[in-house]
Symmetry: C2
Subunit: 285 residues, 2 copies
């Protein structure tokens, strides 16, 4: 496995790999890898001769009040997980390499980046869009893999790739969950034992709403009320949002349109840890 730390080296390697006929898949991560990342890497390895996993804790997507300094980091463990999952290259640049002195550019994907997480985490998606553009320019992948857990992020990335015209397919794979349904996330390590037990309530709220939809419920208010009621069983859990919206635009609706797809979106705080989760549901005709 090759470990690359500079953009120039990365671009030279990609050019050589392309000249040799290899297709390239990439998995952008902030490290602290778990089974969710491993599933992205192994899926990429099934499709591409080269799989580049980037590991970079991107400071610009953390708001000043957020958990950048305590964000979990463990490169040695991450390298092992990448290798076991079939990754062939790791791109792990320093902050100074990615954001040299004088760095001043920002990419804003309008609309989709301005609601939900975008409204609550100012600058977050600008940071995401800018780093993803930089990574795509550095790695020139044929295909980039993202987990559905950060659902709104996948829409921002799709918007970015469509708008700037990157020759890269964006593939979004299912959220990988713990046995009790908690979505795997690097931030789960922040949870105390008690909070960890409570955290499965997010999955319970999502499946409750999903089951109601499958049984014919079409009222968004009733679905959102059911998610809220489930979440509020946990004492001390603070709800940022529990919403049912259109799947591609995140537009709010009152009644689920027949033949459409919707996204159930949750963001809550348990203790000092903020958790998000989501589920996509198809509405019968």
């Amino acid at each position: 496995m090759r470990i690359i730390t500079t953009v120039a080296e990365m671009q030279t390697l990609v050019r050589d790999l392309r000249a040799a006929g290899s297709s390239i898949g990439c998995v952008p991560t902030m490290g602290s890898l778990h089974d969710g990342h491993a599933s992205l890497i192994s899926s990429a390895a099934e499709q591409h001769g080269t799989v580049i996993t980037s590991i970079f804790v991107n400071p610009t997507q953390f708001a000043p009040t957020e958990d950048l300094s305590k964000y979990p980091r463990n490169l040695e463990r991450d390298l092992l997980i990448v290798a076991q999952a079939g990754g062939t290259v790791v791109f792990t640049p320093s902050v100074e390499e990615v954001y040299p002195d004088g760095f001043a550019s920002i990419i804003h994907v309008g609309g989709i980046a301005d609601v939900f997480e975008g409204a609550r985490r100012p600058g977050h998606f600008d940071g995401v869009a800018t780093i993803v553009a930089k990574l795509l320019i550095a790695m020139s992948p044929d295909e980039a893999y993202f987990g559905q857990k950060d659902y709104q992020q996948t829409l921002v990335v799709r918007g970015l790739v469509r708008d700037l015209g990157f020759a890269c397919t964006i593939t979004v794979l299912d959220t990988i969950r713990e046995a009790d349904g908690l979505a795997m996330s690097s931030r789960n390590v922040y949870l105390t034992e008690e909070e960890r037990a409570q955290a499965s309530t997010l999955f319970l709220a999502l499946t409750t709403a999903r089951d109601m939809i499958e049984q014919g419920e079409r009222s968004v208010a009733k679905l959102e009320d059911a998610m809220l009621a489930t979440l509020l069983m946990v004492p001390g859990l603070a709800i940022d949002y529990a919403s049912v919206v259109m799947v591609s635009t995140l537009a709010t609706i009152e009644v689920l349109p027949s033949g459409s797809s919707v996204a159930l979106l949750l963001a809550v705080r348990i203790g000092s840890t903020r958790l998000i989760d989501n589920m996509i549901c198809s509405i019968g005709a």
Copy 2:
């Protein structure tokens, strides 16, 4: 000469050309080509097996009050000029191809894009940065050529390329001038015969200040006064700015620092036509 109209076709061609070992130079233009563009194309042709000239009148870099609808367009004439200058490919996408329905992304290069032209033409450099990024992603050139006439634009492009990490050298070539010193510009066709005669005053103002610097003048106030006095000889000419600033940052100064380089920047309006020009001067040690 090949004419390409879609991003996907462009990216396929570039991939094929690279696989065949060709290096790629590109010259981004808004068409209405003149000898300045031709000099960029022929310089690119000396260095690269493939020279792609893009011709695209980018609507997003025009403010609502500006001259988008009357901006001169003549594709047939442009193609002839490209061919004569040694261009091998023309990329001329439609507005719908570049900005499809739902397009929502914008790139802002902070600092350098916020002063002079950026302050007077709101959104202009965001439009420039976004289209240049799109063109670089579509054409993947080894080297991109720009004219010095749009000096601040060249700094915005350099900032963009540095910040996003494009593997592309930015080359800025000298402004090509008419016999009387007027910088060639597609907008010169807007000038009436009388205005055209007056327009050479910009070059006179620049050379006046340059000569003063060569003779030892180091006071920015005196240099700017001399440029203003020269420009004000033209009745009805309106001055946007006539400034002496640091060459890379456009920072204002009071005294020219020894051993540095400065940019003389002009923007004026003659009748209804806005003209810009500039000159770079090295200050002796």
